[in-house]
């Protein structure tokens, strides 16, 4: 199934930043993962176009880069929405009902985990424990954290970012 996503449109500035990062790491042992972290900071995600540039720059086969990107959950092949929603599915949140909260968000936005709404506004991720277990169940929208949630809170939280 094709995922709901957006086409790649990287800018010249982003490319220059990436080249600077690659140059800086060229002689470091085990540089691929740090470079991928930086590249994701620059572009927000790691489309194949970006992976190609890194492969060329570090002289590492593209297959290996792709293998690494798909191995680690932090690296994303798809762009994230302007508002990236993370629902914690760590054990503490799960036993307090975060599974139902995730279902509700998927229902409201009409997308699955790992997808982005067609307007580029929202994306959802089911995160591992973010360590705010005292506030369980927890969700995050970019850097904002919402804790001690019940399912009925979800609608209001999403509405806040829509406008």
């Amino acid at each position: 199934m094709e995922k709901k996503t957006l086409p790649f449109n990287g800018t010249k500035e982003q490319e220059e930043q990436l080249m600077a990062v690659i140059a800086e790491h060229k002689d470091v042992d085990g540089a691929v993962i740090p470079v991928l972290h930086k590249a994701q900071e620059i572009y927000g995600y790691l489309p194949i176009e970006v992976q190609e540039m890194i492969s060329e720059g570090l002289d590492v086969p593209l297959a290996e880069i792709y293998g690494i990107v798909t191995f680690y959950t932090q690296f994303s092949l798809n762009p994230k929405g302007k508002y990236h929603i993370g629902v914690c599915l760590g054990t503490a949140c799960y036993v307090k009902g975060s599974g139902d909260i995730l279902e509700k968000i998927k229902e409201i936005l009409g997308i699955e985990v790992g997808e982005c709404t067609p307007d580029g506004l929202f994306s959802i991720e089911a995160t591992r424990c973010i360590g705010a277990c005292g506030l369980a169940p927890v969700l995050t929208v970019n850097d904002d954290v919402y804790g001690r949630l019940v399912v009925d809170d979800v609608e209001g939280i999403i509405a806040k970012y829509r406008d």
Partner: protein, 597 residues
């Protein structure tokens, strides 16, 4: 340092940051300025106090007033009443700390009384972003002692003698690891720190790094001296931005003070550290996978031997310990092996930090001597189960551990007794469950996690965990047979004995322990097709109690699939064929006439 009249300690751990401590600190600074008190009170952002359930937390000294769940609006009142007029704001105090009209010392509060803070000693006490505060409480003294008075072998002997075992879960004797790495002959050796805390519901390591990063840096330098390494790596989860930032600041300050770098304490010993970020792969907590990941590859484990002590990072001898293990080192060096040995049980020495979560009143971080019973942790320190519910099980060891039932709640917690009852210490997550949690569902939850996190290298783990998950799925949807239970058990044992690394070898533990202690729940799912806790949606049935139903039709209007029908003012009924078990009817009924079976 300027003299001040009082200190205001605000917790800046991840829990309190999530509940808004930054806004409170900003407001406090603004209010202090507005009242011209900036020179009289010092605001300090510390690491985790441990009582995350009450965050954001603020403690005002010298009185020791413990304010909990503070909001920005409360800050003005605290400043005007407490700081200006000297009247503690009772309304905001943590109720447990108030006794008649006096404030109790924190050490007398139930949550802290039975705790013993060794690894967490500085968390919530000092400002982790200021090396001078760490030095002020004996920081870097252990490193100084080691470099100027001790030979490497003497250091290793002290650690061996102390009986310290790895706090990452396995419980391997730390001193032995140091000895093996020391014995390996090579010009280049490395020291590494495992801060890839992936166990869901565990956050001890993060709190140590956030609250006391120098303790880990100092211990790694000591380890480097002992085993003969001059370069260290800290592999930390990228999901821990605050810990990464504070660690970065701490390393820079240590370099500036000459405590990292060339010729430390003019002893001729060089040591430096580098941070490497993880990228979200649970398997990287396994030592060989972690090493592969630092080298820049997919974090897949490899067979041992050779052990990292012989061939680790870039095939060089590497000492790898967990954050909490390192956090104990300086105290052992300063207070001696005998002191450390006096704490804990016969085979498990010292203390252990647990991240207490789930259905428990005082969620947060606790550190107790080994051998403390689960009951003491849950009932006394944790304050028991909220909402009058009954304790059902405690889960330790995360996806590698098991569930401990009520009849074993008096088990003393140490490596060996936990292993004996089918669980394990793990890194220290301790999740409490009550009667509303379904144990089959919990086993399924952990299997879903391991299926997702299996790296795919070996077949028993890649395929075996998936098959296990499928059987659990079958049982929770009401299609399981009694043979499935036996097949599942058999599969568990073959995965345990054949998987390549710790992840696979321990993945069946959640299933095995729940099968052992909660077999009746599995049988209820299989034989009677019911989920006793009412969690497994496909087995739940909603019914209207005719006696209680007033026939108001509200539930019928709310039902999204039109499964509820009836005449106004007479009892309604639910068509279980149509019902999607969303539970909206039960929530909307004002008379409590709808029940879940």
């Amino acid at each position: 340092m300027d003299m001040v009249r009082g200190h205001i300690l605000c917790c800046g751990g991840t829990g309190c940051t999530s509940s808004g401590c930054d806004a409170i600190i900003k407001e406090m600074e603004a209010q202090l300025a507005a009242h011209d008190l900036e020179k009289e009170f010092k605001v300090i952002k510390t690491g985790c106090f441990g009582l995350c359930a009450l965050g954001p937390i603020m403690i005002v000294y010298p009185e020791g007033a413990f304010y909990s769940r503070v909001t920005p609006e409360d800050v003005k009142e605290i400043v005007e009443e407490h700081l200006v007029k000297g009247r503690v704001v009772k309304r905001l105090l943590y109720a447990e700390t108030v006794e008649e009209d006096n404030i109790k010392s924190l050490n007398e509060v139930d949550f802290y009384k039975k705790q013993m803070r060794v690894a967490l000693r500085n968390c919530g006490v000092i400002n982790p972003e200021d090396i001078e505060e760490y030095i002020g409480i004996d920081g870097y003294q252990a490193l100084g002692k080691v470099l100027t008075e001790m030979k490497p072998q003497e250091v290793i002997d002290v650690i061996k003698e102390s009986g310290l075992r790895g706090r990452g879960g396995g419980g391997f004797p730390t001193g032995m690891k140091w000895q093996f790495t020391y014995n390996s002959q090579n010009e280049q050796k490395y020291v590494a720190c495992n801060a890839d805390e992936g166990d869901p519901g565990a956050f001890m390591d993060r709190s140590i790094l956030e609250g006391d990063p120098h303790a880990v840096i100092e211990a790694m330098a000591i380890a480097g001296y002992a085993v003969g390494a001059n370069q260290g790596y800290i592999y930390i989860r990228a999901e821990y931005p605050i810990a990464v930032k504070r660690l970065g600041i701490a390393i820079a300050q240590a370099r500036e003070y000459g405590l990292l770098g060339k010729n430390i304490f003019e002893s001729g010993f060089d040591f430096d550290l580098e941070i490497r970020l993880g990228a979200g792969a649970f398997v990287c907590g396994e030592e060989t996978a972690l090493i592969t990941s630092i080298e820049g590859h997919r974090g897949e484990p490899r067979p041992r031997p050779p052990f990292p002590a012989v061939a680790g990072l870039w095939q060089k001898p590497t000492l790898l310990n967990n954050v909490e293990t390192y956090a104990n080192i300086t105290q052992i060096i300063l207070n001696g092996a005998d002191w450390f040995k006096s704490i804990g049980t016969e085979k498990s020495k010292g203390t252990k930090v647990f991240a207490l979560g789930g259905k428990i009143k005082n969620t947060g971080l606790v550190e107790v001597p080994m051998g403390t019973t689960l009951r003491e942790i849950v009932e006394e320190i944790g304050g028991g189960i909220p909402n009058g519910k009954k304790f059902k099980a405690a889960q330790t060891g995360g996806p590698s551990g098991g569930c401990i039932p009520e009849h074993l709640i008096d088990t003393p917690i140490d490596y060996d007794s936990l292993m004996a009852i089918g669980s394990m210490m793990g890194s220290g997550g301790l999740i409490v469950m009550d009667e509303d949690n379904c144990m089959v569902d919990i086993a399924k939850f952990f299997l879903e996690f391991t299926v997702d996190e299996s790296c795919g290298k070996c077949t028993p783990c890649r395929v075996g965990t998936k098959r296990l998950y499928e059987i659990l799925e079958k049982i929770t949807s009401g299609n399981g047979t009694m043979e499935d239970l036996d097949r599942m058990e058999e599969l568990c044992y073959s995965i345990k004995s054949t998987a390549l690394c710790g992840l696979g070898q321990t993945a069946p533990n959640p299933v095995l322990s729940t099968l052992k202690y909660f077999r009746d729940e599995y049988e209820a799912h299989v034989r009677d097709k019911v989920c006793p806790a009412g969690v497994c949606k496909k087995l739940v049935k909603y019914e209207i109690v005719a006696d209680k139903c007033k026939g108001c039709s509200l539930c019928a209007k709310k039902c999204p699939v039109g499964a509820i029908t009836g005449e106004i003012k007479s009892p309604f009924t639910i068509d279980s064929e149509k019902c999607v078990k969303c539970g909206v009817c039960m929530e909307s009924c004002k008379f409590g006439a709808i029940i879940k079976k």
